[in-house]
């Protein structure tokens, strides 16, 4: 299991791509086959790239819609 978990409140996402642009590992993407409640394609971690996340929280920090939370699975 990946150490860091990046969680999205998907229905709040507006597909602005800011998270994608700031991720140092470039592991985020827009999920083009899904529309969320608002009609946007939400962002997500690219499937299979969870491991690469370094937990820098940059994505969550820049997200204008408070979509993202980041967890450290190794801590309580």
């Amino acid at each position: 299991m990946a150490r860091f978990l990046v969680k999205f409140l998907r229905d709040r996402c507006k597909a602005c791509e800011l998270c994608i642009s700031v991720c140092p590992k470039q592991i985020l993407e827009i999920e083009t086959d899904l529309y969320n409640k608002k009609g946007y394609h939400p962002a997500r971690v690219q499937p299979g790239k969870d491991d690469e996340c370094i937990g820098c929280t940059s994505c969550a920090t820049i997200c204008p819609d408070s979509v993202i939370s980041v967890f450290d699975t190794t801590k309580e």
Binding site: A15, E17, V22, A60, T61, P64, V70, D72, T73
Partner: protein, 250 residues
Amino acid sequence: MKAIYQSTVGEGLTLTDTSYCPGCGHGIIHKLVMESIAELGKLGETIGVSPIGCSVVAHEYMNVEMCEAAHGRAPAVATGIKRVHPNHIVFSYQGDGDLASIGMTEIVHAAMRGEKFTTFFVNNAIYGMTGGQMAPTTLLGQKSTTSIDGRKKEISGMPIRVSELLATIDGAVYVERVAVNTPANVRKAKQAIKRALDVQQRKLGFSFVEFLSSCPTNWGLTPVNALKWVGEHMIPYYPLGIFKQPEEEK
């Protein structure tokens, strides 16, 4: 499993979706302000004032008691509120049209009187809500719907630097300009908010944080490019930094 960044939705922010455009800087700033107040544990003892501008209904999103203010007058409104509830956290949240244009008198005088509230000033170099007209903060050469060939000095003068102007006023005790263009700057912006709120809670005088922010819609840029533009064009003209702080902190 420990949250190293916990979305404040449901705590500092309400569950209501915002009406902001994708990638709008208002979203980032709302989040920072509300995270900060939530972290202080003061959501129940805070009263905010929203402006006329895209953030007119900030009260739908910010999970504290709030009222709207007539265009430009939020500092007067916040003055009134703070005088009634001197121990609450009181803030005004204002755009650049609101604060730097029509509301210049109110902000200068709130600062002069040293009112003990905090103003969060969102400088996106444009009138967002009304569709992209030139603001006092619009950069030279920047296009807007009332300066379609770009702002010209001869016609409209040079953009106004509000933090520098307010810093000349004694009652303005804390004045800082930040930007929300990169994660690093966003973190600094939050520090600024916390310092400003601290100055307020210590009743030292008026505190002010200017945010260089983006308006992708009216700038005609993608959200990502809009934040780049903040870094490349706004920061050079509007230098970041603390312009005023209480003596003991220098």
